[in-house]
């Protein structure tokens, strides 16, 4: 069981090495002549005005919120699907009921208009 994860663990350690190498090489061979004008924030050629952290719409939060709830519920269904062979009718219905409760939330968000982008 842990041997399965050993490969992923080594991958986890090695995977960032390749892109990091690709960032280190330009450090050595690429020219470096920074000046204040060059490192200005790019905005279609005009000078940038005001603060970077603009005010975002609350809609971004709402969509992520609906996503969070759905994500959590669906992740719980994965063990149910894996054990599907051994489940009796009651267990299957319990899973379907779980999905219907999920649909409830979706219908509410839809009716309420929280899924509209204005």
């Amino acid at each position: 069981m842990l041997n399965d994860w050993l490969f992923i663990g080594i991958f986890l350690v090695l995977a960032p090495v390749f892109p990091a190498l690709a960032l280190v090489i330009p450090r050595i061979i690429a020219p470096r002549k920074p000046n204040p004008l060059k490192s200005q924030t790019y905005e279609c050629g005009i000078e940038t005005v005001g603060d970077t952290s603009v005010q975002f719409r609350v809609q971004y939060y709402l969509f992520t919120l609906v996503f969070l709830i759905f994500d959590v519920e669906i992740v719980f269904l994965y063990p149910w699907a894996v054990a599907y062979e051994q489940l009796d009718l009651f267990a299957v219905v319990a899973g379907i009921l779980f999905i219907f409760l999920l649909v409830d939330g979706l219908i509410f968000a839809w009716r309420k208009g929280a899924l509209e982008w204005e």
Partner: protein, 402 residues
């Protein structure tokens, strides 16, 4: 002599044991070598993908594409890489240096990590960890994180807006994707990718779950942020999105990550629905499995490019409507129908099972198309109504922008 990979593995076992190393250490060394070989091979394929991308887009646009450097321009991507390596890399003023440099590394590393669970051939499996499908979703979530880090650390309005749009799109489309991925898990009774491929020995899952296949493909394209879902890097609005401030190799890493991500997701979809490495003779000659796998993966990759260069970009409200009001309900319906039919059809002949599930999918598809048709009719009427051409703004614009 059908299986050189196992032969090499056994030979390494013998060699290392001959040096007097402990068995646990041998496993670690073999895993290290495997990871190194796999990652190098994948990155070479990635460089090759640059050439494929440029060549295919040229053909779609009736051009020739790169054709000067080497046969068919095959050396061109290496020239590209060298050019990126010797470009000056500029850090914008006010950037958060550590996070700014970490973001492109994460963008490519997370895509590489996905290859740990993709089976290339019966014997060339990185690891068949028993939660493979969720592992893919989780690593994808780490990729989302890289984008938000890039957008925030650049200290640029457009980058931040682009990152927000990207993340909103990626997390939204993750919902139907996770539900659609549940269907092959349900059919195979396992989350391990190789177990799912093994479960497709008598029929590919695209036969019993064609709608889930299409849903996975569409949501994969959205996860990639490719056209028609490329509003996250709409040049006319926010220039390039989250990687606007990245230059040289840092931009190159984002680019390479995006190309490789497309192939990786194609490979995953091929494994889950098209039988992965399965094909005539793949069991006895594992190397054939690699050929079949990449043939299927590149076919799907080509489909993704076909879509990319054929469809116009959609608006953000259309993108979100498509996801929450069409793909998510459809995927839930497909999941419930598949689950119920699977339980009802216990003990029948495989061909009955396939036919019933295929018929059920066709019925769902037909009903969906009818609903879509009536919606489209209404939409055409709505758009055709006369509207005022231009109005002066009635009230001062509210402060809620972006």
């Amino acid at each position: 002599m059908g299986d050189p990979i196992t032969a090499i593995s056994l030979w390494l076992d013998g060699l290392l044991a001959g040096w007097g190393l402990a068995p646990a250490l041998i496993i670690v060394i073999k895993a290290l070598l495997g990871v190194g070989a796999l990652a190098t091979a994948v990155l070479l394929v990635d460089i090759f993908l640059v050439w494929v991308e440029r060549k295919v887009v040229a053909r779609f646009q009736d051009r020739l594409g790169p054709n000067r450097l080497g046969p068919f321009g095959l050396i061109q991507p290496f020239a590209d890489v060298i050019k990126l390596l010797i470009k000056e890399d500029i850090t914008p003023v006010g950037a958060d240096r550590i996070v700014y440099n970490l973001a492109p590394i994460m963008a490519l590393a997370t895509v590489l990590l996905l290859w740990a669970v993709i089976p290339l051939a019966p014997t060339v499996v990185g690891t068949d960890v028993n939660v493979g499908v969720l592992y893919i979703v989780g690593v994808g979530a780490l990729g989302t994180l890289g984008i938000i880090m890039a957008g925030w650390a650049s200290n640029n309005k457009y980058a931040l807006i682009g990152a927000f749009r990207t993340v909103a799109q990626m997390v939204s489309y993750e919902v139907p994707m996770v539900i659609a991925l549940l269907v092959p898990v349900l059919l195979a009774r396992s989350m391990g990718i190789n177990s799912i491929v093994n479960a497709q020995d008598s029929y590919w899952f695209i036969l019993v779950a064609p709608i889930a296949f299409l849903l996975t493909l569409i949501t994969s394209i959205a996860e990639l942020g490719r056209a028609p879902f490329d509003l996250v890097e709409a040049e006319s609005e926010i220039v390039a999105g989250f990687h606007i401030e990245y230059t040289g190799m840092k931009f190159g890493l984002f680019y390479a990550g995006e190309l490789l991500h497309a192939l990786t997701l194609s490979g995953i979809v091929a494994s889950l629905f098209l039988g992965g490495w399965r094909g005539p003779g793949a069991e006895s000659f594992p190397l054939l499995g690699i050929v079949y796998f990449f043939a299927k993966a590149f076919f799907l990759y080509w489909v993704i490019m076909w879509v990319k260069y054929s469809l116009p970009r959609i608006r953000i409200d259309q993108m979100l409507n498509l996801n929450w009001k069409f793909l998510t309900p459809l995927s839930l319906v497909v999941l419930v129908v598949t689950a119920l039919l699977d339980k009802a059809l216990v003990g029948v002949q495989p061909w009955v099972y396939v036919l019933v599930l295929l018929a059920a999918n066709l019925v769902i598809a037909w009903v969906t198309l009818q609903i879509l048709r009536s919606r489209a009719r209404k939409e055409r009427q709505r758009v055709a109504e006369p509207r005022p051409i231009a109005r002066p703004p009635a009230a001062p614009v509210s402060s809620q922008g972006a």
